[in-house]
Symmetry: C2
Subunit: 352 residues, 2 copies
Amino acid sequence: MMKHLNIASIPGDGVGKEVVPEAERVLKTIAKIHGGLSFTFTHFPYSCEYYLEHGEMMPENGLDQLKPFDALFLGAVGNQELVPDHISLWGLLIKIRREFEQVINIRPAKQIKGVESPLANPNEFDLLVVRENSEGEYSSVGGTLYKGEDEIAIQNGVFSRKASERAMRYAFDLARKRNKHVTSATKSNGIVYSMPFWDKVFQEVASEHPDIDTESQHIDALAAFFVTAPEKFDVIVGSNLFGDILTDIGAGIMGSIGIAPAANINVNGKYPSMFEPVHGSAPDIVGKRVANPIGQLWTAKMMLDHFGEEELGKVLLDTIENITSDGFLTPDIGGKHSTKQVTDELIKRLKA
Amino acid sequence: MMKHLNIASIPGDGVGKEVVPEAERVLKTIAKIHGGLSFTFTHFPYSCEYYLEHGEMMPENGLDQLKPFDALFLGAVGNQELVPDHISLWGLLIKIRREFEQVINIRPAKQIKGVESPLANPNEFDLLVVRENSEGEYSSVGGTLYKGEDEIAIQNGVFSRKASERAMRYAFDLARKRNKHVTSATKSNGIVYSMPFWDKVFQEVASEHPDIDTESQHIDALAAFFVTAPEKFDVIVGSNLFGDILTDIGAGIMGSIGIAPAANINVNGKYPSMFEPVHGSAPDIVGKRVANPIGQLWTAKMMLDHFGEEELGKVLLDTIENITSDGFLTPDIGGKHSTKQVTDELIKRLKA
Ligand SMILES: CC(C)[C@H](C(=O)O)[C@@H](O)C(=O)O
Ligand SMILES: CC(C)[C@H](C(=O)O)[C@@H](O)C(=O)O
């Protein structure tokens, strides 16, 4: 039985354009080895450069073009020197997340062999953040009032039971396949409407899962625990903003944001899911051939898992750890290898 | 010339009641050594226990009682097992911050000799977070709508030019006495009303301070940099929530939240400022005599600085580092000493 996957590839900006092609090479290699799997990558140039030319991040029918694909494989979006972030991100990345109802963002963080953590004792932490990806602090409701010294900006955070519950249930389901522990990120001591509401919903969902241990931690303490005792966590569920912050710390304790992967999951099957690493476009290292491909490669593994190819996904991550522990590292994680050298070595070993 | 300071002491909950008396002993010792300085501490029992007895965190005229003092010296507030956090905190801690217009929260983080950082290479980081302390994400504007599956909570973040600018100017003033570098914590790529506004105000204030280097970092990346390269920062200015999160990470990289100090500053001179460590009431270790007094002691140093006694403040912090580097440590930072043993040793050395 042949499985064919039609992927829309959006390299985006900066290093996105350097790492996406590398990850595509790897996915094609894996498909060939497998035999029963194949990929087609169709490229879309949506990016800040596209904006400069066309005055928009993607064409009006951009989403219609992307919709038929099995998944989207994205590199990085944003380059403040060309386009303000809130325009580039809301015109492409966040637009896709929202319109394609990619309501869950999953981001693992674990110690990778051969990659030095900034922590003195990382204790083989292995955690998974489930981030609510559709609302919360990232709402487009708000505005400004008055000019000059009286000017104020109001930003509404919007928290629905539906979206909060959905993220929490997703977290509990994942915890069941892992170490049966869910931590909820809150801040109900300081943020007195949305967060007590979030806590209430969490308690209800928790009570339906008596087999899973739970706890709530305020985001400030939790952020610190990610540094002092990350090994204590299994699955963490958080709002859009809290999930965002925690996963960057997760990337930090792994040793580099360049290796952290992510998946934006559409759970109702109406639209494709999107796979994009945590890192940004890193304009400072563009063109130097040193972009770390691991974030994009590990993201490719999450895409394989998503399509039921967990075995291949495991082979890919194991082989990544295989080359990192042998010192095939880009400069951001203390190595001297180029993007291409790392991928070449990975492909060589995958074939072997 | 005699300087007399009338301090309102609010030990609060849990370990607050264990560390505040120790810090008072130390302050009295320092005053005696100095000769020209004296303290009176007047105790107020406002706490969760007070709430259980009286149905409120402090009496109706509580603020009037506290207002005449030169400063407030607070331990910790909150104990979820007795009173929900959003009631205890908003009825006491946050109420005081707001009503006494303590609009700036200052929190240093630096490597303390003899206290092991969880970071492999802390590189002698020494940073200072200036947190906007009066509005932002911690607003009491919002509410919930509908019941059952359609329930939603709305939380308004309120950002005024006045308060944002004030925090930023405070940060620039402090940076001028330090390493002349200010980092602004933003999230304008995801939070599209309040944060672009914050960025705009920051750019304006920055342009008035050409002698200070500036940069803006998104809170997710910034949180990760606090782990991977904290030595790169000097003064960081952030909103109420972002300042809160960053300072807990700051405490985390120092080795324990038990040692981190804070000051809530009233800048218009109408009300007393409040000095309170970053840590909470830590119900899990109450009564074990192991609460780390350093957070409260370092907070006492910030109070000395505030009253122009920078020299005494320096002596106090130097002596703290003196005993920590000789191994007088409580269990949270890897030692075996009790709260009292640490303070006794500190007092002995201060006298010497
Ligand atoms: C207890 C809580 C409301 C408080 C805050 O978030 O301000 C605390 O975390 C702090 O940082 O002082
Ligand atoms: C670029 C930005 C809007 C985005 C976010 O905050 O969602 C990024 O930080 C991420 O985590 O994917």
